[in-house]
Subunit: 311 residues, 2 copies
Amino acid sequence: MAGMELDFVEWLRQRMPKSSQVRIGIGDDAALLTLSRPELVATADLLIDGVHFLTAEHPPEAIGYKALAVNLSDLAAMAAKPAGALVSLALPRDGAGGLTPSELAKRLFDGMLPLAEEFGSPIVGGDTNVHAGPLVVSVTALGEPTGRGVVRRDGARPGDVLLVTGELGGSLAGKHLGFTPRVTEALTLHQTVELQAMMDLSDGLSLDLARLCKASGVGAVVEAAAVPISAAASALAMTTGDLPLKHALSDGEDFELLLSVSPDDADRLLSDTPPGCRLIAIGKVVASEGVTLRQPDGTMEPLLTSGYEHR
Amino acid sequence: MAGMELDFVEWLRQRMPKSSQVRIGIGDDAALLTLSRPELVATADLLIDGVHFLTAEHPPEAIGYKALAVNLSDLAAMAAKPAGALVSLALPRDGAGGLTPSELAKRLFDGMLPLAEEFGSPIVGGDTNVHAGPLVVSVTALGEPTGRGVVRRDGARPGDVLLVTGELGGSLAGKHLGFTPRVTEALTLHQTVELQAMMDLSDGLSLDLARLCKASGVGAVVEAAAVPISAAASALAMTTGDLPLKHALSDGEDFELLLSVSPDDADRLLSDTPPGCRLIAIGKVVASEGVTLRQPDGTMEPLLTSGYEHR
C-alpha cells in the first residue's frame, strides 16, 4: 500500500477480515490472491466530493460504503463473485467535516469494512495521499465468474422480457449512499435461469437500457405502467413538478439490476421468484432499434436518453 | 467504463492492442481476463497534480506514462507478469496546460499506451470524471505470478547480499517521469536465481531498505562507497550542498529494484549478469536489527530513514 503512513496501514490490516483467498494482503508491493479458476473480473469507479457525494453533508462512513458498493454493483452486473478490492484515496490536506485527513480515511474505511466482509471482498491494497484538492475515492473491485461464466450486456434477443430488481428514481434522497449492491440476487438469478444480458442501473433506466440495446443490436418497448416508481421519486416529483415516472426513468444511481431473459424464464422467475430477490417486468426486447415507452392508452413515444451522466 | 463519454470510450477501445487474455475489455460493466493460473497479483497507485507531477510543467503523455509505470514497477517488485490495468481519472473541469478535459485525457492515455503495449498490460477498464479539483490519475495494475511464485519483501536472511538494478538519486530531475519499470529484469532474475526478497525503490533506499529489513526481521549494512550515485544526484548536490550520497539514499522515486540473494547467487549474478540487467551490490543483510552505513574508513553510522514519503 504505497504512500501510506505505517500506523495507518497497520490500523487497516488489523481490521481486515481473514480470507483464505488473500495470500498477501496490505503491506507488500502488491497483493496476491488465489482464485477459483484462472479468470478474473475487474471494474473501477472513482468518486469525488461535490460530484458523487458531499463531505459537508454526508458522513464519511456513508461515502466509503458507497464507493465500495458501486463497484460491487458492477461485479453483480456481470454475475461475478467478489474477491477483493483496492482503495486509493486523495485526501484533502485540511481534512473535511472537522476531521483530519487521517481521521477521514479511517472513517471512510469504517464504512467500507462491513460491506467488504458481507460480500467477501477484503481490501487487499491501495494508496493514500494528501493533496490540495477535494476528497477522491478510487476503488477497483476484483471478482471471479462462477462456473456459468459472466453475463454481458450484449446478449439481449428480440422477444426477451426485461426485468428490474427494485424500484427506481429519487435515489439522491438517500438510497445512493446506502443501497445494497445486488450481488446475491445476481448470483442466485444466474444459477436459476439463463440470463441473456444484464447491467446495473447507474445512469437511469432510459440511458442504461439504450446502452444495453445498442450493445445487443436490438430495441425495447417499456410499459409506462409497469415501471416501478420509488416513494422517493414520487416525493421528489411533488417538488420538481415532473412526473414520478420521469424521475424513475432518468434520475440514475438506482443500482438495481436490469436483465433480459426469455419469456419462459421470465414466467418462471415471476411465478416462483427465488428467495431474497425482487423482480418486476418492465417491457420487452424488440428487433427494431430504439427504445420506446408505451403508455397505458397504447400511445408510443421514444424514450429519451435523459439519464444523469456523471461528467 | 463507468461515467465516460461514449466517443471517448470508443476512441480508447480502438487504440487498445488486441490481447488474447482480455475476453471483455472496455465497454461492459466490468472486464473479464483469462489468466495462466488461478492466481492474481494486484497493486494500485494514485498520482495527483502538485504532488507527483505538475501539469504546468510536464506533458500529459509523461504524466500518463508515469502513472502506469509506477504500477508496473510494483508488479516487477513481486516478479509478476503484467496482465492489464484499470485507469480512473478525475479531470480538472477547466482542463490544464491549455487542454480541455477530454484532450487532457486522450494525451494521458497516449502516454500510457506504448508502455501498456510494451509490457503486455492492456487498459481493460476504469472511470473518467470531471471535477473542480486538480488532475488525479488512479491506476490499478493486474498481473500474474510465474510458475516460480511471487517474491515478497519479507524473505531476506542474514548473510544475503543486497543488490540494486541501477543508479540512485536525483530522479525528480527527470527520471521519475520516464523510467523503465524493471519488469523484464525482475522476471529474468527470478528465473535465474532464488530471489529471497525484493521490492522497488519508491521512497529512497534508506527508507525502503528499512522496510524490507523490518518485514524480514533482519538488519543491513550498506557500504557507502558501493551505492551507485546517479549523475542527476551529483548535479543536484552542487545546488543543494548535500552530499551526492545523501541524495542517492533519500531522494526517492528511483524505481529500481532492491533484491536480497544468497552470497552464492550474488556471485553468480555479478560474474555472469543476465542480458539486459544491471546489478550493483550495495551491502549485506545482518541478523541484528537496524540499517547501518559503513564509510570507506570503516566507521559505522545508522542510516536514517530520511526517504521522501508522499503525503
